[in-house]
Amino acid sequence: MHIAFRYRLLLPLITALLLIVGYPLGFSFWVSLQDYRLTAIEGATWIGIEHYIALLRNNSFWTALRNTLVFVATAVSLELLLGLSLAMLLHRRTTLGRNFFRSILLTPMFITPIAVGLMFRFLLNSQLGVITKLTEAIGLRIDWFSAQNALLTLALIDVWQWTPFMLLLLLAGLEALPEEPFEAARVDGASAWQSFWHLTLPMLRPTLLAAIVIRMLDAFKVYEYVYAITRGGPGESTETIQYHIYRVGFLYYRLGEASAMAYVLIAVILVLVVTLFYSLRRA
């Protein structure tokens, strides 16, 4: 009776999840198995896994996936590095004006990404951009949106906007760490680096894992910067997977194909997250 009651309490949540997560997931999978075009919904026919097979030969899709992986890896690792360094700095009681910097550093996070994209489109513009003028003043002539640099530029914009998020999480993690092990280490004569490497990092691991996974999932969704600045160009060099899926699904109305792409993306993300989880947990 008790068990039954326990499960009955879960029922509203399970129902809600089924409706808002299960149904769209199931429906989009069903759509991915059909020749489903928004301009001819009634003519949609069952084609099985044909879309998935076609994806194997679809170079644009794999280019977009590769671009996204490069973007995520670059952006998240830089954010982690910067975020952790800043968090360590702001965690030190001796840092001057740390409360002021804490609030100032968080501001980029509050701007909507599409506005950030538009801002940087003009800040980095070769003729009109302030940043370009400043770098030229010190003798650096960088073509931010060339075929070679554009993806890195977008990743750097992401770093500008989302390092604060990493900082926020890691700072909270640092502040939650117990004092005693550090005091003991100091008594034992450990250097700052030793106590960072042997104490801070291992104890911070759960927070690090959470921060990386959250940022990674978020970075996979990159769309706004691409849309506002490069539209996927030059060529396909900044075509990210979300932008690609958007184009196929909502610009060309080929929803079946777009759904199949989304499913492959889910699979890739799942593999990545599970691998990351296991490797960090085991370590």
């Binding site: 020749d35 928004l38 301009t39 001819a40 919904i41 489109r121 513009n125 070769s126 003729q127 009109l128 073509d143 931010w144 949106f145 060339s146 075929a147 554009a150 600045i229 490069t230 539209r231 996927g232 160009g233 030059p234 060529g235 396909e236 060099s237 184009r247 909502f250 610009l251 060309y252 109305y253």
Partner: protein, 441 residues
Amino acid sequence: MKRFLLKPLLTFALALTACAPMTTTPVAPSPESGPASVQPVTLTVIMEQVPDYDIVAELTKEFEAKYPSINIEFEAMPYDAMRDKLLTSFLASKATYDVIIVDNPWMDEFAKAGFLLPLDDYIAKETGYDFEDFVGPLREIGRVEGKIYGIPYYNYALGLIVRQDLFDDPDYQAKFKAKHGEALQIPTTLEGYLKVAKFFKEQGIHGIAMQPQRGYKVFEEWKNWLYAAGGNLLDEQGNVIIDNAAAQKALELYITAYREAAPPSSLNWGFDESLRAVAAGEAATMISYNWMLPTLNKPDGPAGNLAGKFALYEVPGGKAVLGAWHWAIPKNTASADAAWTFIAWLTSKETDKQRVIKGGAPIRISVMKDPEVWQKGFGQQYYETVLKILEDAEPLARGTRAEEIINEVGTFLNSAVAGSMSVNDALKAAAEKTREIINRP
């Protein structure tokens, strides 16, 4: 199970319906019965948030005064939001929008999908409407498989916008003559354009503010070069010819112009950037929408002190890319007759003349030839040039998959400009992709 679900759902839906305001009644004047209708109708009109919309919204007050039973509600939004919203409205059992505007790459797609109402009968019954007065190529965009689905709203054909003061400058003229042995003139061929553009670059001002941004923009700009070189996307039989010799020449010259005469590192430039460059006096020419001329020449416009120094010409080669918006009525609207009343009034000769005088982009021949429009608008020369441009213009792309073709070909073109693909490879790939898109079931 189905019945179990159906009942509460229906009750819920009915409850929602009961909550909805009862302001609109789907009864409207029909062409036979004339405008006199007793029951009020509210028409929801989807619009793109551009200056032309402001003019239409202003004029609509006169319409509402004349037809008190028809109330117009505009929903204006940015371009990129429109395609999704339109489709959602088409697929709903009852249309969200009773009057819509359709961009030219969407016309065949929407008409052939059965989303739009044919307007031939309405046009035939409208006295004094003079449909033939719309410029031919604009009229043709609205015609799909012999039926008319769209009435022109405004054009965005491309023209060559130049800094006339630079071309007229005696110093530049002398230098050009000394270098090339000919007078510095508005270019009428691609080779001539390149020569002039390079010359200005040597004088310290960028020759062309180009728009090689991937997708739509590069395709829209380059297709003018393609026409000038004698090429096209498809031949008259519908074969893909975008990889022929003319296309090769057009792309090679376009890339040379980008490398030697455009602002450096402008590979991701679109409309905004090139307009700013020209308005800021950094570039001597650009290929852009013909109605950008009045904007640039407006004393309180973006060009500041340079206002009044710009002039509009036909693009080199003469034949221009034609873009246009059309009014259309969705098949699933309950107020088709009222929707037509609004469209017919707005696009009538009289109202259209007012619209153009207020700065709207012209669509009717009679309006462009009207001395009153010349005088109150932007002058005789401007309207005559626009008419010339429109008469010799061809849409960006046609067919049900125009949007996809434009974007995909635009990707390869941008790759070629970026140097990551050779001209030959890019055009071959573009042709192959276009064939694949066209032949897809």
